[in-house]
């Protein structure tokens, strides 16, 4: 009995010890929320800058005080405090407004050597010494002077592209014969493949901000965060502890040129992740300034002018995308007459008209101007967006979708209809002036395709790099396919497939352009997946004839009558139209003009995709003539838009199959917009995503890894030596004070 008791106590003690170890491994001391940032486990490389922050989250009864701070046992408290004194209290040091919290950030430090580092902080909180210890595995620094190093990177980011969408792009874009693909995707032809986990610091389902940001800085971040950690000063999104991206590092240390090409608005999360640092991905006016390195404002953006931020963030040399309203003054007439924004614009400065040119950027706004822009000058291209009033899917911030631009160029049709058909809303004058073209179709024609943007970007980056003739020089370009995600969100699957096909095309074109370049590396991956999957095929004709014969509404109003009311068994013709298992015959997409895109997204037999996460919506599986939101919304008394995720958009295929939603629907009391989790779109997925790599250093990208490991792999491809063992480096120091 005594032995049994002792065993029980031992087991209990061991159990508690395990719990303590687990707690110690977490990122905050439990009772006070004491934490050190960057979070433990952040995958840094030597020389990479970060802000070292110590803070408490739970207010104490009296002001907490830092007792000691050490790195691998060496006390750095005095140095840390001296740095804080130099920076001064306030935003530069991230000082909390509450005296009952401790919080201090020493800016722009780095570990000087690779190895394992333990950073331990002790803070006196209400008479007790609280401790927290973080561990960092620091990889060697990039060394582009190494003859084997890559010195050019094209990083392809297919936003929201999970494995099913790569498959769909292959089936639709390449075709299948007797069970074999007619041709693999360029993505599949890449030399190396791996798998990346996408989980964010604070959520299993990441959004695009940490999804992209973690890839190039090695740090897990919270949703909505761009290259910063969350801190205890929520009243200021710009003072959070930051981390340097590998794009910024290569520019700062080796003079590399950096650029981004996207079809989203330029200040959207993915492009902004390259070098903007902000707790709020929606702080667009601030992010735009960071992208071109403009900190000298005295008007609406006082929070931008931090010395440490200006020192850390490196401006982009090439930028192309949409979203003029975040860059131009609200008084600039081109915002209406060319870009077709009915409202919006900056209230302080005009970055396009005034600031960017003064910083040496050539500014272009359409394909013609892009072609004629000099190749040896920094380039800022902001193109017009999806401004059709009859389309509710994207809005003027984002470039028109690939399918819609192809239709405008006469290179595709939608269910047999071309740009001249009124159903597509392209053959009319733009609503706010004809500066971009006499018709919407003309405006869309002059919005460049991704290949046109990418080729120009590479040419400019090559020439800017060559001008400096540095022995260690090079360049990095992010090519984002944004609307693979945005079209997926609104359940425009056919359009989303066209987006992935375009992404794959530019991967292939780049592989061809750089195939003999021994300094080039190409990496392709996604920030996260979406829950789409391929469920079968359907005859377009059958879908058209079945529409309206199943799940009918009453004058477009919901609820609906289920199935066919004439038959007590309630069969559904639209469901019957889906061919799966033995009936999943091969699709019949054709590419008669050999441009790599199907001529029409609805051929005689088309692919059917469904979504594992969705609001309630209606679908015939036919391609919409214009992108449309899937669900209804209404205006509240105070003029806000209230989304209704349980109610389909009555204008979007009301004769279709009613797809019952599984996303949250609860609306908010008193009309506040979109809180409590109503999700009127298909969500992101928590799935892992594929990574492809080609060129010098591609072999580092095989395996199964965290998204944060990609930063290390890039550093290795850029000449860093092999990652060392986990042993502490006794000689390593924190530097940059």
């Amino acid at each position: 009995m005594k032995i049994l008791f002792r065993l029980t106590v031992l087991c209990a003690a061991l159990s508690l010890s395990t719990a303590s170890i687990s707690a110690a491994a977490a990122n905050a001391e439990q009772e006070t929320g004491l934490r050190v940032l960057p979070p433990t486990g952040t995958e840094l490389f030597a020389g990479q800058r970060f802000d070292l922050r110590v803070e408490s989250q739970v207010p104490a009864r009296e002001s907490p005080r830092l007792i000691s701070l050490s790195v691998n046992g060496t006390n750095i408290t005095e140095t840390f405090n001296r740095r804080l004194a130099e920076q001064g209290e306030g935003a530069e040091s991230g000082t909390p407004s509450s005296k009952l919290l401790y919080g201090a950030s020493a800016r722009n430090l780095s570990f000087d050597q690779p190895g394992h580092y333990a950073v331990e902080a002790t803070v006196l909180i209400d008479g007790l010494e609280r401790k927290i210890k973080n561990h960092y595995h620091v990889a060697p620094a990039p060394n582009p002077k190494d003859p084997a190093a890559a010195r050019k990177l094209v990083f392809f980011l297919g936003d929201g592209v999970g494995l099913p969408m790569w498959t769909a792009a292959r089936i639709v874009g390449k075709g299948v014969t007797e069970g074999r693909t007619n041709e693999p995707l360029a993505m599949e032809k890449m030399a190396t493949h791996g798998i990346s986990r996408t989980t964010a610091f604070d959520s299993l389902i990441t959004d695009s901000a940490p999804g992209m940001a973690s890839l190039i800085s090695g740090m897990k971040m919270s949703n909505n965060s761009l290259q910063v950690s969350v801190d205890n000063t929520p009243e200021n999104p710009v003072d959070n502890p930051r981390i340097e991206t590998i794009f910024e590092y290569m520019k700062r240390v080796h003079g590399w040129k950096i650029g981004v090409v996207t079809d989203a608005f330029l200040v959207d999360a993915t492009p902004a992740s390259l070098q903007a640092h902000n707790r709020s991905r929606r702080d667009y006016t601030n992010i735009a300034q960071q992208m071109i390195g403009y900190y000298d404002d005295q008007t609406a953006l006082k929070k931008t002018g931090y010395l440490s931020l200006a020192e850390l963030s490196k401006p982009l040399d090439v930028l192309m995308g949409g979203g003029a309203a975040h860059w131009m003054s609200e008084k600039n007439p081109a915002l209406r007459s060319f870009y077709q924004y009915p409202s919006g614009g900056r209230k302080d400065v005009d970055l396009i008209a005034d600031i960017a040119p003064s910083k040496g950027y050539q500014v272009v706004r359409n394909l013609d101007e892009l072609k004629n822009a000099p190749n040896d000058q920094k380039l800022l291209g902001i193109f017009s967006g999806e401004f059709r009033k009859t389309s509710s899917g994207l809005g003027p911030d984002n470039l028109p979708g690939v399918l819609d631009r192809l239709v405008a160029r006469g290179a595709a049709t939608i269910r047999g209809k071309g740009a001249e058909d009124s159903a597509l809303g392209l053959n009319i004058a733009p609503p706010l002036g004809t500066e971009c073209g006499e018709t919407i179709s003309k405006c869309f024609q002059n919005v460049p395709m991704k290949a046109e943007m990418m080729n120009k970007a590479i040419t400019v980056l090559e020439q800017l790099t060559a001008k400096e003739s540095r022995e260690d020089g090079g360049w990095m370009l992010l090519v984002e396919q944004s609307q693979s995600d945005k079209m997926g969100h609104i359940l425009e699957y056919d359009r989303s497939i066209f987006e992935v096909i375009e992404l794959d095309q530019v991967i292939g074109l780049t592989m061809k352009r750089l195939e003999n370049d021994k300094k080039a590396l190409m990496v392709a991956t996604s920030d996260h997946a979406q829950p789409q999957t391929i469920i079968g095929v359907a005859l377009t004709e059958a879908l058209e004839s079945a529409a309206g014969k199943c799940f009918s509404t009453t004058n477009g109003q919901y609820p609906v009558t289920l199935g066919s009311p004439e038959d007590a068994d309630r069969p559904c013709d639209l469901q019957d139209a889906i061919g799966t298992f033995n009936d999943a015959t091969f699709t019949t997409y054709a590419d008669s003009n050999k441009d790599g895109f199907p001529d029409d997204p609805s051929p005689s037999i088309k692919l059917i995709i469904e979504d594992g996460g969705r609001p309630t919506y209606s679908t015939t599986y036919l391609t919409n003539f214009q992108p449309l939101k899937p669900t209804a919304s209404r205006k509240t008394e105070d003029g806000k838009t209230l989304e209704l995720p349980a109610l389909p958009n009555a204008q979007r295929q009301p004769q279709g199959l009613l797809m019952t939603g599984n996303m949250p629907t609860r609306n908010v009391k008193k009309g506040a917009n979109k809180t409590s989790g109503p999700v009127e779109i298909a969500p992101h997925a928590g799935d892992d995503v594929i990574v492809g790599a080609q060129g010098t250093g591609a072999h580092y990208f095989s395996g199964y890894f965290e998204n944060t490991s990609i930063s290390h792999k890039l550093a290795q491809a850029f000449g860093a030596k092999a990652v060392p063992s986990q042993q502490s480096d006794k000689n390593g120091k924190l530097v940059g004070w």
């Binding site: 439990q30 009772e31 509450s98 909180i125 007790l128 695009s208 949703n223 929520p234 702080d283 809180t675």
Partner: protein
């Protein structure tokens, strides 16, 4: 300093509120603590939170925070001028938290109270649970 509504409906000034801080026990105490933990009900956890909007750079005072789960009566607290609230004696387990801001807006989130602590912190960020706009971002 604003008052804290701790439990329902007892008002306790924040400065008087007890905050039990425990040093990590030495090995000699582990067995006793372990026995205690295994024998005693786990209901002495203090929940501390902050109601904020990171996107708008705001903290919310006078926000009503209601913590509920099916089998128990809900608990309620009010945030102070710096957005903090505190609830004592919360049992371990999964909860839904309803937050009503003073301006009428409201939102909710979920929380797992960890049994291995005496205090647990949560940041309730209005902006974090806002679904991105269709025509903007994701």
């Amino acid at each position: 300093m604003a008052n804290w509504l701790v439990g329902n409906p007892v008002l306790t000034p924040f400065s008087q509120h007890s905050n039990i801080l425990v040093r990590r026990p030495s090995l000699g105490w582990l067995a006793c603590i372990a026995c205690f933990i295994y024998a005693a009900p786990i209901d002495a956890i203090e929940l501390v939170g902050r109601v904020v909007d990171n996107a708008q750079a705001r903290v919310f005072s006078n926000a009503t925070v209601q913590v509920r789960r099916n089998t128990e009566k809900s608990r309620e607290a009010l945030s102070n001028t710096e957005g903090f609230f505190r609830l004592s004696n919360v049992s371990a387990g999964a909860y839904i938290i309803d937050i009503s801001l003073a301006d009428g807006r409201s939102f909710m989130t979920r929380l797992m109270i960890n049994p291995n602590s005496t205090t647990q912190f949560i940041e309730l960020d209005y902006s974090r649970i806002v679904t991105p706009d269709d025509d903007e971002d994701y």
